[in-house]
Symmetry: C2
Subunit: 887 residues, 2 copies
C-alpha cells in the first residue's frame, strides 16, 4: 500500500500559511494553537477532501473516513472524553471554513455527540440538566434542518407551540421538562417527515454533518456569494471538528466578538461586544442586547486583560486588525476564531497607514492592504447608513456610477437643466440617455435609466462626471408624456417633482429623500496615495472633456489627460446648430463655413483644458462618432430643425436616412470622416494648436506662461495610410501656426488602437509616424470579440455565469483575447520605436485588474474617468509591489 | 562628372524583357528590330524619365534633353534626313507606351517635323503636295489639340467650314489649296486662342510632344483606366520617337492591323483588316470599310507572304497570339507594333490549349495564359454582342453578379414567384433585398436593386445562385405602390410587366428585350481545367444551400460543400411560421415544440445535399443570423403575423423591439444563440445526423448506399468555451443517433474563424476539440477592419481610390491586415494539431488573388459560390505553377 495522502490535520499540525488546504478558519485555529493560545482542541478535514467528495459522487472515501476516525480518537484521548459517552460525553462542533471567507453561507452543526443517553450524562456532569437538554434540543433542530433537510419552520412551529402552551415568552423561560418535550416532538417530526429517526449514533451524526458541510459548498447561496464577491479558484471548503465550549454555563460564562481596531473607522481602539451566560447564536439573535466589550474590564478584569493581551498578540502576529470570537466557560477564556477583520474603505486606509506607523508593516504591505476598488466608497457622496436601512427600496438597477443622489424627478434633459439653474436638486430619469442629454446630465444630481448596461451612454458619461447613476432599471416604466415613473408590479407612481434617492453603489432606488454624507478624504488617504505614487511605475491620466472634469481629476492625482472626447463639445448650446449646418452642407465650402463657427468654441475648450492641466500632457481625440449622432431622430425634432435650418423637411429626412447605418459601430466615423471630410479635422487641429499657442504665450497682463503638451489623437485608424495622410495634414497646419506665432511647442500626433487591424499592422503605423498609441479597449473589445456593447447585455450575463467569459469583457479587460491583440500591437510598435509611448483610454483604464495588466505589458500610463484616478493609482502601486515580491 | 544614367534607348539597344523600362511598345519594337524585322527606326525615352518628369515639376532635366538630342542625331544620320529639313525632312511620330497596355488613353503626335518650310520640301520630295499638306494639316491639328490644348472643336469647325464652302463631302475631296487654307486658319486659331503661334521649330515641337505624352500619363482617362483595369505599380509611360512611314502615298501603299489567331474565337487563322492608300487613323475612323487581311494575298501576294511569315515568326518568338500593326509604304512592308493580342475568354482558352498542342508552350504556361477572372464570361448566359451595341442603356449599377437577364419587371418577391410559376421570365426590381425575398430571387432571371454594394444581400445571394444581378443602381427610383421604375433625370418610366434587360457583367440596364447567348463550355475549356486540376494543390469546394446549387457546383468541379448556410432554409414556405413560433415562445418547451416542426424539413434538406455531393464532404454551418431577421419589419406584416400567430399585436411589436439591435453584426447571433437557446442547434445537429444516417444506409429498394462526410460548423465562436460546450452537446446527440442506428459515419465538428478573438486563441480552440477551421473572411474583415459591409459602401470607394486600401477588402482579401489574423490562426491552430483542416468560405474564396493567398498559407481548400468554382480551380493552378517557377 502506498503512503496515504494526509487528509486530516489536528490543530497542532497546521499553521496560518495552510489556508488553501485547511481553510482560513482551520489555518488560524492551528496557528493560534501553536502560539499557545487557548483554543478548544480539534482537527481539520482539508479542502482537498471537499473536492474529492464531489468527485466521488458526494461521498467520503474510506481512506478519509479512516483518517477522521484516527484524529477523533486522538481528540477523545486528549480531552479524556468519548463522543456519545453516556456519562461524560465529548461534544464537538462541525464548521465549514474555506480559504476565503463566505460568512454564513455554509452549514454548521453544534453540540454534536449528544443523544438520548449522553444528554443525561451531560446533565449530571454539569449539574445543569436544563443546559444539557437545551443543547440537545439545539442539536436535534440544527441536525434535522441542515443534515436531514426537515423544514426549519417545522421545528419553529413545535417550539412556538410549546412556548404558547407553557406561557413561555422567551426560550429562556422554558423549563428542562419543556425542553425534553420539545426534543421528543422534534424527533417524532423528523421520523414522520423523513421516515428515519434522528441518529443516536454520534459517529453517524458526525459523518452526516461532515457531508452536509461539504454539500453546502455548492448550495445556491454559497455559489452566488462567490460569484458576487469574485471569489474564484477555490477547490472547496475545509471542515473543522472542534471541542465545544459553552458560554451558557452560568454567570461565570459568556461569549463575544471583538475587533482589535474599529472596523468602521479604523481607530486603534479595542472594539466588540459580549453577552454573559450565552452562546454565540444568542449574540446574533439579538434577544438580549450585548454589552460593549470594554464593559468586561469591570465585570471580569482578569479575563478582560487576558483577552486584550491575546488579541494584541494575535494582531501583532498577523500584523493586521483581527476579528475574533471568544467564549468564557466557567471563568476560562477560549478563543474560537481569529481572522483578519473586514472593514470599511476608510478603516482599511487608516489601519494600513497606522500599522506602518507602528512599525508592524511596510509601506508596500500597507498598499496591498487596501483593495483599489474599495476606494470608490471614499470618493463619492454616500447614503447615511442609518437612513438607508430605514428607506424604502422601490426598484433596483445596475450600480452604474457610485455615489448617492437625492432630487426631484425630471424626465427630460431640458427640464433637468432648467430646474438645476433655478437651484433645485434633480434626478434625471430617462429610458436611455443620448449625447444630446449631456447638459441635462451635467445638471443632475443623479441619473436613472430604464435601459442600458454598465457601459451604456448614461453609465459611461455619469462615471466620467462622477455623478451617481443607476442604469438599466427594468423595474421602472417611464411615461414621458404623462411625466410619471411607475414601479412595475408595485403600483407606485412617482410624478415629476416628487423626490427619489439613488444609491449608485448598489443600484437601489428609494422613495423620497434619504440623508447623505459627503466623502472625507482624510490625511491617511493622502498618505497612502503618496506611498502608492512612490512605488507605481505607470502614469495615471484622466479621461476629461471639460476644464471642470480636468480640475476634479487633478485633485484626484491625474497626471494629464489621456482622452479628451471632442464630440461632447459639439452638443453644447449653439454649437450643435453649426454642427448640423456642417452636416447638411453639400460641399466643402458650406462645411468649412459651418466649421469656422465652431472653431472659437473648440479653441476656448482647449484653452481651458491646457490651463487646467498646467503643463501635463493633454491627449485630444479628434471627432469620432458618426455624423448621424448629431441629427435628431424624433419626427417632431426633425420638423423643428428643418424650420430652424430653413431646409425642407423632406430634404432633412432624406439626409438623416442617407446617414443611417446598419452597424454604426463599424461605420463611417473616426478618421473615416476625415478621409471624406478633411475640413473637420483641419478645424479641430487648428483649434488645438491655436489654443496651445495662446496658453503657452505669456499673458500680457500677468506675464504668466503655462507649458502645454498637446497630443493629437486620430481615432479609428485601421490602416497605415489613413494615419499618414491625416498626420501630414495636421502637421502642416500645426507647423504653419507655430511658425506664424514664432513659438515652439512640443506636440505629438498619435493614434488610438481600437480596430483589430491596427494592432496587426502596428509596426507599419509607427513607421508612418505615429508617436504614441492609446488603446481604445472599448472598441477593441467590441470589434475583437465581435460584441456590440449596446446589444450584448442580453447574453453577456449568461456568458459570465456559464464561465464563457471570466468577467464581463467590458468591465474587466479580456486579457487572453483582446490582451493578445494589445501584446501584438506593443511588440510590433516598439520593434520600430523602442520608446513608443503607450497608454489605454478605454473604460478599462480605471479597473484594477486591467491596470495590473497594463503595468505588466509595459504601458506608460493608464487613463480613466476622474473619480477612478485614485483607484488606478493604487492598482498601479499594487502591480508594482507584487512585481517586487516576485523578485 | 559621374556616369550619366541611360535615359534613351535606340530600338537596337532594347529587347522584349525591358518592358518596365521601355514600355510594352518600346520593348517590342526593339525586340523586332533585333529579330531583323523591318521596323521604322527610332528610339525610346524610358518610363523612369516619366517618373523624373513629375518629380521635376513636369519638366525634362537637361541630362534627359541631351540624351534625346544625341539619339535624334543618330536617327537623322541613319535615315539620311534631318528633322525640319526644308528639302527632305525627317518626320517622326511621338507615342506613349507603358509596361501595361492603356489603349487610346494617352496622347500621340504624328507627322512631327513639318513646318511652313519642310512641308514644301516633302511635297517636292514625294511629288505629292496634297499628301504633304494633308500631313501638315494633321500635325497642326493634333499638336494644337494635344500639346497646346486648343479645343478640338475649334479645329473641327474650321475643317467643316472649309468643306462646306468648297462643297467637299469627305476630307478626301479637299484639294491641296483647301488644305493650305485650313492650315492657315488652324495656325491663326492657335495664335488667337493661345496668344502664341504654332511652333515652327521641329525641336520645340518634339519637346512639346514629349511633355504632352508624359503629361497624359496622369490625365483623368488614363488614371481611371488603370483603376478600372487594376493596373498598378507602374512608374509611368515611356515615349517612343519613331520615323514616320506612310500608307497613304498611293495605291502601292496601305496600312492594317492583324492578329495571328482570331481574338474572338481563338481559331488559329490569320485575321485582320487593312486599307490601301490610307493612314492608321483612317482605319479607325471607319470612313472607308477595310478589307479582310486575307484579301491582301490577291492584291499584293509577295507583301502578303512577307506579312504572314513575319507574323508567324513573331508569334513563334513570343509564343503567343500577336496583335500587329503594319504599313506598306510604296511597296515596302513595315511592322509598326506587335504585342500579345487581347482576346475573349473563349479565345484565351482555345489559344492556350492549342499552343500546347503545337508544342510552343507547356501546360503550366497554358494555365497562366488564362486569367481566372476572365472565365466568368464563359460560365453565364451573355448578351448577344451585336444586340448589345444596339440596346438603349438607361441606367448603370454595380456589376454584382455576371450573366444576362431579360424579363418583365416585378417589384415584389411574391410577384416574381407567381409570375415565374406561370412560366414568365421576370426581373425582380427592389430597393434592396432581404432574406424573405429568397423565393422570389430564385424565381427571377435577374435582380436589380437601387441600394447595396457588391456584397449586399442581393449581390451575395445572386452570385451564389448564378443569377444575373445589377446592384446599387442609384439611377433608378422605385415606387413599389405605383409599381413603377423611374430612371432618374431621363424621364423614362417602366411599369410592371414591361421588359428590361440586365448585363450583370457590366452593371448596365437596358430598356426592352435584348438577345442573349447561352454559355458554351467547349472541349478546350475542359482540357484546360483538367490541367489546372492536375497541378493545383488546394481543394475547391462550393458554398451551396440547396441540392440544385450543389449539383450546379459539382458540374463546375466542386469537390464538396465548404459552406451550407442553414438560415436560408428557414424562410421557405411554411417553415418561417415554425421559426417565428420558436422565436415568440417564452420557454424551452415552446421553442422545442416549434423546432420539432422544422426538423423534418431540415433533415430532408440535408439528405438532398448529401446525395448531391455523393461522398464529398458537406460542411453545414449551424444557424447564424440574429433572430430578428426572421421577424417582419413593416407595420402591416407585423399585424398580419400577429393575426396568424394569434398573438397580441402589442406583444409581437414588443418582441420585435426587444430583439432590435444597434449593431446586429456584433449582436446576438451565431453560436451565441445556441448558448442562450441550445435547443436550436440540438434540432439542427439531429437533422444533420439523421439525414447522414439515412443516406449512408443502403436503400431498401435499390441497395445503393452513399458515403457521407458531414462536417458540422459552429459559427461566430469567439471563445474556447463556446466551442467546447456546443461541441460536447452536438457529439452527444450524434453519438446517440449513430449508436441507435448501429452505423459508423466519419463526421467532424469544427468552427468558423470569423471573430478576430477566435484567431488569437486558435490554439486553445483546437485544444478544446475543433477538427477544422473555416475562415469566414466576410465577418473577419468586418470585425477585423471595423467595417460594416452594409454601410462601408459610402466611403470604401474613396478609400480605394485614395490608395488607403489597395482593393475593396470585401472583394479581395486584405492580406496585410486580415491576412495576418489568418496567419496567426493557422500558425496557432496547427501548432496544436499539425494536420488541422483549413478552409475559407467567405465571399473571397472565389477571388483569384485570395485563392493564391490561401495556397501560399497552406489551406486545404477554398469554397466559393458554384459559378466561381472554375475560377477558383484555375486560380489555385496559377498559384501552384507560380510556386514551381520560383523553384
Amino acid at each position: 500500500m502506498s503512503e496515504a495522502k494526509k487528509h486530516v490535520y489536528s490543530f497542532e499540525e497546521g499553521n496560518k500559511d495552510m489556508k488553501q488546504l485547511l481553510g482560513g478558519k482551520g489555518a488560524n485555529l492551528a496557528e493560534m494553537t501553536s502560539l499557545g493560545i487557548t483554543v478548544p482542541p480539534g482537527f481539520t478535514i482539508t479542502t482537498e477532501v471537499c473536492d474529492l467528495y464531489y468527485k466521488s459522487g458526494r461521498t467520503l472515501t474510506s481512506e478519509v473516513k479512516d483518517q477522521i476516525a484516527i484524529k477523533l480518537n486522538e481528540l477523545e484521548n486528549k480531552m479524556g472524553k468519548r463522543l456519545g459517552d453516556a456519562n461524560d460525553p465529548l461534544l464537538v462542533s462541525v464548521r465549514s471554513g474555506a480559504a476565503a471567507s463566505l460568512p454564513g453561507m455554509m452549514d454548521t452543526i453544534l453540540n454534536l455527540g449528544l443523544n438520548d443517553q449522553s444528554v443525561l450524562g451531560l446533565a449530571t456532569k454539569t449539574g445543569n440538566p436544563r443546559f444539557a437538554w437545551d443543547s440537545y434540543r439545539r442539536l436535534v433542530q440544527m441536525y434535522g434542518d441542515v443534515v436531514m433537510e426537515v423544514e426549519h419552520a417545522d421545528f419553529e412551529h413545535i417550539l412556538e407551540n410549546v412556548k404558547d402552551t407553557k406561557g413561555a415568552k422567551f426560550d429562556t423561560d422554558l423549563t428542562t421538562e419543556d425542553l425534553m418535550e420539545i426534543v421528543r416532538r422534534y424527533k417524532a417530526k423528523i421520523l414522520e417527515v423523513k421516515g428515519i429517526p434522528f441518529p443516536q449514533d454520534p459517529l453517524e451524526q458526525l459523518s452526516g454533518s461532515i457531508n452536509a458541510v461539504f454539500g453546502s459548498w455548492n448550495n445556491y447561496r454559497a455559489v452566488r456569494y462567490r460569484e458576487l464577491n469574485d471569489i474564484r479558484g477555490l477547490i472547496g471548503t475545509a471542515v473543522n471538528i472542534q471541542t465545544m465550549v459553552f458560554g451558557n454555563l452560568g454567570e461565570d460564562s459568556g461569549t463575544g466578538v471583538c475587533f482589535t481596531r474599529n472596523p468602521s473607522t479604523g481607530e486603534a481602539k479595542f472594539y466588540g461586544e459580549y453577552l454573559m451566560n450565552a452562546q454565540g447564536e444568542d449574540v446574533v439573535a439579538g434577544i438580549r442586547t450585548p454589552k460593549p466589550v470594554t464593559a468586561l474590564e469591570e465585570q471580569m478584569p482578569e479575563i478582560y486583560r487576558e483577552l486584550v493581551d491575546t488579541c494584541n498578540r494575535v494582531e501583532q502576529h498577523y500584523k493586521d486588525m483581527q476579528d475574533m470570537e471568544f467564549t468564557i466557560q466557567q471563568g476560562k477564556l477560549y478563543i474560537l476564531q481569529a481572522r483578519n477583520g473586514k472593514r470599511t474603505a476608510a478603516a482599511a486606509v487608516k489601519i494600513a497607514v497606522e500599522l506602518v506607523g507602528e512599525g508592524l508593516i511596510t509601506k508596500d504591505e500597507a498598499i496591498l492592504r487596501v483593495d483599489p476598488n474599495q476606494l470608490n466608497q471614499l470618493l463619492h457622496k454616500q447614503l447615511d447608513p442609518v437612513a438607508k436601512t430605514q428607506g424604502e427600496v422601490i426598484a433596483r438597477g445596475l450600480p452604474a456610477s457610485p455615489g448617492a443622489a437625492v432630487g426631484e424627478v425630471v424626465f427630460t434633459a431640458a427640464e433637468a437643466f432648467e430646474k438645476a439653474q433655478s437651484g433645485l436638486d434633480v434626478v434625471l430619469v430617462r429610458i436611455e440617455t443620448s449625447p444630446e442629454d449631456i447638459d441635462g446630465m451635467h445638471s443632475s444630481k443623479g441619473i436613472l435609466t430604464a435601459r442600458g448596461g454598465m457601459t451604456s451612454h448614461a453609465a459611461v458619461v455619469a462615471r466620467g462626471m462622477g455623478t451617481c447613476c443607476v442604469a438599466g432599471c427594468a423595474d421602472i416604466i417611464i411615461d414621458e408624456k404623462a411625466k410619471t415613473l411607475t414601479i412595475r408590479d408595485k403600483g407606485i407612481v412617482i410624478k415629476e417633482g416628487e423626490f427619489i434617492t439613488l444609491d449608485g453603489a448598489t443600484g437601489e432606488v428609494f422613495n423620497g429623500r434619504l440623508g447623505t454624507m459627503e466623502p472625507e478624504l482624510s490625511g491617511d488617504f493622502g498618505t497612502l496615495m503618496g506611498w502608492a505614487d512612490e512605488v507605481r511605475k505607470i502614469g495615471v491620466r484622466t479621461n476629461a472633456d471639460t476644464p471642470h472634469d480636468a480640475a476634479v481629476a487633478r485633485k484626484f492625482g491625474a497626471e494629464g489627460i489621456g482622452l479628451c472626447r471632442t464630440e461632447h463639445m459639439f452638443f453644447e448650446g449653439d454649437r450643435i446648430k453649426a454642427v448640423r449646418e456642417m452636416i447638411l452642407s453639400n460641399d466643402v465650402e458650406g462645411r468649412t463655413k459651418a466649421l469656422a463657427k465652431l472653431l472659437p468654441y473648440q479653441k476656448s475648450d482647449f484653452v481651458g483644458l491646457f490651463q487646467a492641466m498646467d503643463g501635463y500632457a493633454v491627449t485630444i481625440r479628434l471627432l469620432d462618432p458618426p455624423l448621424h449622432e448629431f441629427l435628431p431622430k424624433e419626427e417632431k425634432d426633425i420638423y423643428d430643425l428643418a424650420r430652424e435650418m430653413q431646409v425642407d423637411v423632406g430634404t432633412l429626412r432624406a439626409k438623416i436616412e442617407e446617414l443611417h447605418e446598419f452597424n454604426p459601430m463599424l461605420g463611417h466615423r473616426g478618421c473615416r470622416l476625415a478621409v471624406t471630410y478633411p475640413e473637420i479635422y483641419d478645424m479641430q487641429v487648428t483649434a488645438i494648436i491655436e489654443a496651445a499657442i495662446e496658453v503657452a504665450k505669456s499673458c500680457p497682463n500677468c506675464g504668466r506662461a503655462t507649458e502645454v503638451k498637446p497630443e493629437i489623437m486620430i481615432p479609428l485608424v485601421a490602416t497605415t495610410k489613413e494615419f499618414s495622410m491625416l498626420k501630414e495634414r495636421a502637421v502642416k497646419i500645426v507647423e504653419e501656426k507655430l511658425a506664424a506665432a514664432n513659438i515652439k511647442i512640443a506636440y505629438k500626433i498619435g493614434t488610438m488602437i481600437e480596430v483589430p487591424r491596427a494592432a496587426l499592422v502596428a509596426d507599419k503605423i509607427v513607421e508612418s509616424g505615429a508617436e504614441f498609441f492609446s488603446f481604445g479597449t472599448n472598441d477593441l473589445t467590441q470589434m475583437g470579440a465581435g460584441l456590440s456593447r449596446d446589444d450584448a447585455g442580453r447574453f453577456l450575463k449568461e456568458y459570465v455565469s456559464q464561465g464563457i467569459f471570466e468577467y464581463d469583457p467590458f468591465e474587466v479587460l479580456d486579457q487572453e483575447g483582446i490582451g493578445e491583440l494589445i501584446r501584438i500591437a506593443i511588440q510590433k510598435g516598439r520593434s520600430v520605436k523602442a520608446d513608443l509611448k503607450i497608454g489605454i483610454c478605454g473604460e478599462h483604464g480605471g479597473e484594477p485588474k486591467t491596470v495590473e495588466f497594463c503595468h505588466r505589458e509595459g504601458f506608460n500610463y493608464v487613463s480613466c474617468s476622474p473619480f477612478r484616478v485614485p483607484i488606478a493609482r493604487l492598482a498601479a502601486a499594487h502591480a508594482a509591489v507584487k512585481d517586487k515580491l516576485k523578485k
